[in-house]
Symmetry: C2
Subunit: 498 residues, 2 copies
């Protein structure tokens, strides 16, 4: 079956695990991000008495959409979003897309009535730019991709008339293989790549004599010198980046918001956890009201901790030494994003770019164009999405105003003159966001092999969940699946417990 490809599709999504009846049993959950919200929802459905302690004044955690009037609090700065209001005028500093096979998070969207729309992720009309190739001149994504594909097919064709094929083949097989390569790469009849309409026209087709004129293909040596093939060019082929890509209408934060509205009774916002202590029957959680500083203590037999580790490390907890070491072993990606209100949707009007992502070798790395609000007057332009270790750290170290200036300078390279249309920029550098302290978890192989299973087993009354406790790091699906895993653990403990 596997050889026939019958198994090569994601297994059907199993849904949350069945739980033994809660009968009012108390469970404490730390953090109202996606993992905490999913767990609280399912536990509530099964009759458990949950209390979710959330340090922020909102639910969702990294699931977050910024709009006019919102504040961005970093450890050493405050920014306020001063954009116009409008359904399409939002910015997702955290997750901003949902792959179509992330059926866990998608099923919660369905349950919550969160409307979804198709998001363009891989736009062949967007730009790729690398200072190290083509004299730094930007290229259309379609040109890079089609020309590279053509060259690969041409090279492959050279191997078809040689012993390279390895096994004996008939003339008919060889001709079929060549026809396949011709189709694959848009090769000429002689198996040479000389350019293709897939790469776009130098002069597009129109009427009469305008039959469409191709440009010669990009120079292969320049292509090989570029960083395009080290990421951007294959981007749309990746399982987690390929179409269909989805987004909630009105911003990713719709999910955290919808969960929050359904769980009002069990979530305590502005509740900052300060200490965790074991007790005879479970654990004691100390927390303080963010505004007043008043302290409270809660007890429960189980505590599900979904707090990201950079924040968890700062809490006074009596974890076992190996747990503490495991929590310390996890690194987080220092991602950052910068967004502006655009007075004019120049990417649509001047470049025919509708959604998707442009790439640059400069620090800004990725530019995101909104799928929402096509052809509206204004839009939110994400001028930088950075995730590499060095650049991310350096960016977080900059003052917000300096981040904006750096982003606009890079934008000018891809969209000359565009920065005049961009204003009221804001940035989110995740390493400096309190109660999170990083964008997403990245397990080093050694820690994945050793620390991860240790944490997964739990530590006495403490269980751990969140994207960091999954093998789908950096995606909300990881948080959902991890919450389900923790629910199964809770069920097992209760079934086997006293």
């Amino acid at each position: 079956m596997a050889a026939m490809g019958l198994l090569a599709t994601p297994a059907a999504y199993a849904g949350p695990p069945a739980l033994p009846p809660g009968n009012g049993r108390r469970i404490l959950l730390l953090g109202a991000g996606i993992a905490g919200l999913v767990a609280a929802w399912e536990l509530g459905q099964a009759g458990y008495d949950c209390l979710v302690l959330e340090a922020r004044g909102r639910t969702g955690g990294r699931n977050w959409s910024l709009r006019a009037g919102d504040e961005i609090l970093e450890t050493d700065s405050v920014q306020r979003v001063r954009w116009d209001t409008g359904e399409h005028l939002y910015f997702n500093p955290g997750p901003a897309r949902i792959p179509h096979h992330h059926e866990g998070i998608l099923s919660y969207c369905r349950m919550l009535g969160v409307k979804l729309e198709v998001m363009c992720n891989d736009n062949r009309g967007a730009w790729m730019q690398d200072d190290a190739a083509f004299g730094g001149q930007k290229q259309r994504s379609r040109t890079v991709i089609a020309d590279a594909r053509g060259y690969v097919a041409e090279l492959a064709a050279k191997a078809t008339d040689q012993a390279a094929l390895g096994a004996p083949v008939t003339d008919e097989d060889r001709e079929r293989l060549r026809a396949f390569l011709r189709a694959f790469g848009a090769l000429d009849a002689d198996l040479v790549y000389r350019g293709s309409s897939r790469a776009g026209y130098a002069l597009p087709a129109g009427v009469g004599a305008e039959t469409g004129r191709l440009a010669p293909p990009l120079d292969l040596r320049q292509l090989l010198s570029s960083n395009f093939w080290q990421g951007p060019m294959q981007f749309g082929e990746l399982l987690f980046q390929a179409a269909t890509m989805l987004e909630p209408v009105g911003g990713m934060g719709q999910i955290g918001g919808a969960f929050g509205r359904r769980l009002t009774d069990v979530i305590r916002k502005n509740a900052v956890v300060t200490a965790l202590r074991r007790t005879e029957s479970g654990a004691q959680v100390t927390w303080r009201e963010a505004a007043s500083g008043i302290e409270h203590v809660e007890e429960a037999s189980l505590v599900l901790c979904t707090i990201p580790f950079p924040a968890l490390r700062t809490i006074d907890a009596d974890f076992a030494p190996e747990t503490r070491a495991a929590i310390a072993a996890l690194s987080y990606v220092p991602a950052a994003k910068v967004a502006f209100e655009a007075k004019r949707r120049f990417w649509e009007l001047d470049d025919a770019i509708y959604g998707g992502i442009s790439w640059t070798s400069r620090d800004s790395t990725q530019i995101w164009y909104p799928t929402a609000g096509i052809n509206e007057k204004k839009g939110v332009y994400v001028g930088a999405y950075i995730w590499s270790e060095e650049t991310g750290r350096a960016f977080a170290a900059k003052a917000p105003a300096d981040r904006l200036a750096a982003t606009l300078a890079d934008t000018e390279l891809l969209h000359p003159g565009a920065s005049a249309a961009l204003r009221r920029g804001v940035s989110v550098a995740w390493p400096k966001i309190p109660f999170t302290g990083g964008a997403w978890a990245e397990w080093e192989p050694a820690a994945r092999a050793d620390a991860y299973p240790r944490l997964l087993a739990g530590d006495g009354p403490y269980l751990f969940a969140g994207e960091h406790m999954s093998n789908i790091n950096g995606w909300q699906e990881g948080a959902v699946r991890s919450a389900h895993y923790a629910l199964a653990q809770i069920g097992e403990r209760i079934k086997s417990g006293p």
Copy 2:
């Protein structure tokens, strides 16, 4: 510049041509499809006195969305759409997508305030099925595409250690080329393709021990036996099919409708043209009211005819013999579509397919899943989109009920059990649609070289426009560009005329 790729992007859209002031000069336009509507709009803006004669009771022509209560009239049948009402419950029997670089039609959407959304065209989660390969078993698009890509890269890598490279290369160049091929095809370190997460997992990643298990790649010989590489596999690479793909919110017919509302005063609906005659000062057009049969005669110095040729051939016109021969020389694609109301969005719920297209080697050819209304209860499922000559003709010859039965049988192959959720099917076979008579123009090379330029020059008072008069056949952009071309001709005639 071209070698650097600087010209390899579509030239900026120039917009409609400037026209000399109309000063109330009368121009007759035949047909209120996209070409006629664009021409009427621009002429009106310039002060011309237009009259558009439209045979149907609605504007748009092939730009058409069907909803509850609408009728489909073919030459020998009438169907009524008996679906529920709902913004997302529509069917576009004609054009259903707008590529992001079709700036002509997109600029009219902007001008008209027609809202656009991203449409998923190439969905890597959709199915490909071919009776001639893999025992007829469907495969996920992502699996076919990733595995084929891997095999091509592996083959190309075999050519890198041989004289096949043609020019002398350094070791460093060769290693860079190999690294590129590894990235291109997701090859292992030894340049062999052994499967990739791009193809999807046999068991997806989750939590703990669920780290994701790959399936072995599809058998290359089976892939080569399939028709996948003769179209479906390269589909998303084509200039006119690649992302970003757009669609009007609420259906393609929004464009024809919005034009129609702005041009109410100049469009005469239900006006069937029956005869065209030259006069001393231009031409005389005879038309009859569709309901009453009452005849009218109009005169103008110029007549812009946008009627598709299968319909134009049936009109009593005094075209020159070469014009008549040229009109006779054009073939039209006999495309057809079949749509059902789905009681349950099984493609989303069971297969995690959100929009996009599945392919089958059976007659249904393509299945389209709606981008609109994701996660709603119901949806419109397009079970067949057929355009090949033989299948299209055979399909048009079937009675509507037989078309539905044939489509459901094919659907069962890709979505077993799904036909129970499908009801109230309707079909549109373009060869049998009055006043159009075909889906879109396809010029044979000889006719393109000879008849096309002849027609483009016009014939006395008669000028021709429409997608058929462009080099962008089958796309609304062709109609727009052709209308602009005709407007420039009108301007020239007026400037040089008496």
